[in-house]
């Protein structure tokens, strides 16, 4: 059987979470691998959340915010835009493939886009296989 990755999604309340809801109200189907966590603004997403998610066994983390210029808090998403690349570079040093952490802009009218992103990410992670963090942890568990 194929490997089914687990994805944790951090969505901003105003654009992306509404977009995800719209996918639902429009009955646009996508992969069930994602678990969404709502935050008020993508700027709230502390890098440690991503790390924690990976540490707890997520195979990928999706971060979604309003399109640049649309932020409900005027500029929060710009902070995220600067923060994420740094985090990715750091994770890369720990051997975590950069596809595992993804930053996307999804507006409240882009239900379809959200669905496509989830499907695409799921597909890529299937190819990529389980997260090395998970493997490592599993390994540790095995030794004990």
């Amino acid at each position: 059987m194929t490997f089914e990755p687990k994805i944790v999604g951090f969505l901003c309340n105003w654009c992306s979470y509404s977009g995800a809801d719209l996918a639902g109200t429009s009955r646009i189907h996508y992969a069930p691998n994602i678990r969404v966590i709502r935050v008020m603004c993508s700027a709230r997403i502390d890098p440690t959340f991503v790390i924690k998610a990976l540490a707890d066994g997520a195979d990928g983390v999706l971060v979604c915010g309003c399109h640049p210029g649309d932020c409900h808090y005027s500029e929060g998403n710009y902070k995220t835009m600067r923060r994420m690349p740094l985090l990715k570079r750091m994770l890369a040093d720990f051997g975590i493939e950069e596809e595992r952490v993804r930053l996307e802009w999804v507006s409240a009218s882009e239900g379809k886009r959200f669905a496509d992103i989830v499907d695409d990410m799921t597909e890529r992670l299937r190819e990529l296989g389980p997260s090395p963090v998970k493997m490592a942890l599993a390994g540790d568990a095995g030794e004990r």
Binding site: S18, L22, H67, S107
Partner: protein, 603 residues
Amino acid sequence: MRIGVYICRVGVETGDGANLEAVGHYMANLPLVESVRSLGLLPRIDPEAMADEIAADELDRIVIAGDSPGFFKPAFTRAMSLAGREPDEVRLASFREHGVSGDGATERAKAIAACAVYGVPFTLAARPMDTKWNPATLVIGGGIAGIQAALEIADGGKRVYLVERTGTIGGHMAMFDKTFPTLDCAACILTPKMVAVGQHPMIELLSYSEVESISGVAGAYRATVLRHARRVKEDACVACGICSDVCPVKVPSEFDAGIADRKAIYIPFPQAVPNAYIVDEASCTFVQTNGQKCGACAKKCPKECIDLDARGEVLQLEVGSVIVATGYEVLDASRLERYGYGVQPNVLTALEFERLTNASGPTGGRIVTKSLRHNKRKKVDEWVLDPEGESPKSVAIIHCVGSRDANYNAYCSRVCCMYSLKFAHLVKEKLPDAACYEFYIDMRAFGKGYEAFFERIQDEGTFIVRGRSATVTDHAGQMVIKGEDILSDSVVEFPVDMVLLAVGLVPAERSDELARMLGVPRDEYGWFTEADYNGDPTGTERGGVYVAGVCQGPKDIPDTVAQASAVAARALEGAMTGRGLQSLASLSLSDIEARAKNLVPAS
């Protein structure tokens, strides 16, 4: 002081009705008035000759009375200075500008004239008395203007009744994809406000309802509202959509501007507020056959909240203020045959394109041309929008469709230039290789950040053609748009796959009825007339009746929102103090006269 009165008229947009002769006689009997002369329609005044007359009559003050008398003021001012008199002593009695029209026109004209003679601003002397005020407010129209006004007032802790004709609030803005010039998505900024309205304890949202009649006076209006039968229990419906899955009837969706279908039982759009389905009795088989046929939805509804036999109900509302925010409709593009709308499948109106390019629209935001399909049921070939269809290689956008045109709407619709530029951007963004043409007369990019937006569009490679195009024709299956490219001084013809018509705005249907109910005049084009063009752009003749948004005249979202908050201020004043100003008509001529006398500045 010796005062000379001159009565003259501008032939255009005259407020009907005032008996100028009577006004003349009246003015002749006002103190200090030496002479009253009538110069008739659009007089050609010779300042030199006028100066001699003034000198001869030794006039110290001139009063020009009539509709838009300001058009003659410079001539009189110059005449005064030539005659060695005080040029500042030329006063205007502006009839049309201060609401001289209909019955009572003559009395109003007299009052305005009196104030001018006394050298006192009419608006100052004719300030109505205040009266008791019912703290509740009725907002008519659930577009962005109505939503904004309702929220402002309700957030102030005051009761609001929001009456919306359709099944959901949101109005035209909910249909838009992006909004100029910032290009932020309309849904992102509008839906939170819609939800807020739906959940606000101080707002009673009466959707699918219409105001039947309004009686009473400023501060104490009684409105009769007809709640059409939604036939779905609003609070019980969970918007699961099973009903419309089983509904066999398909009709064009209003929300999708007709480019997609909806069922007879439908929800206007997923984020609709109230978030409940609605039965369109006009197309519902069950309703049309008096329950003889169908009724499938009611049987299938898991919450049993569909009552196809439900009847409309009538409500009585007591309010102090009434806010009119009925918005607009777009001009019927088929009236301009030369653009081929309705004949050429790929000639779209602005609203249709908004839905076509909208991520939540029928093509998921893909800009595609219609393709010919055979409809087996109807046994006819018809043009359909296929999400997988071909995207246009070239798109032309025609400005001023039915606007700035003596044959249709003489006025400028104010938003078309900018939304056309926005369209050009969306086309270029989604179809970088497509050629895009804008045919315009004047590029009216007047607002904050608009000019920069215009420049951005030009940089994106859209061809801006100065010249309103003339015709859209079909040459062997290829649409061709023809117009004069004035700046290159030649007639151009471009083959195009899609034409977007920047249709102008026209007043919403039934606004004539509403105007009659409220006793608020409308201008020659049907827009509601404000109390004072400059001084009070959101007030009206009637105390406690305010206008906001496009129903007062075309305007964009920022200006609409500003007006909405402005009328909210007035409603809140009444609600907070329990008092407010009566209608202007409540003042008699003698009242105004007396006030003016007392206000005469001591000199």
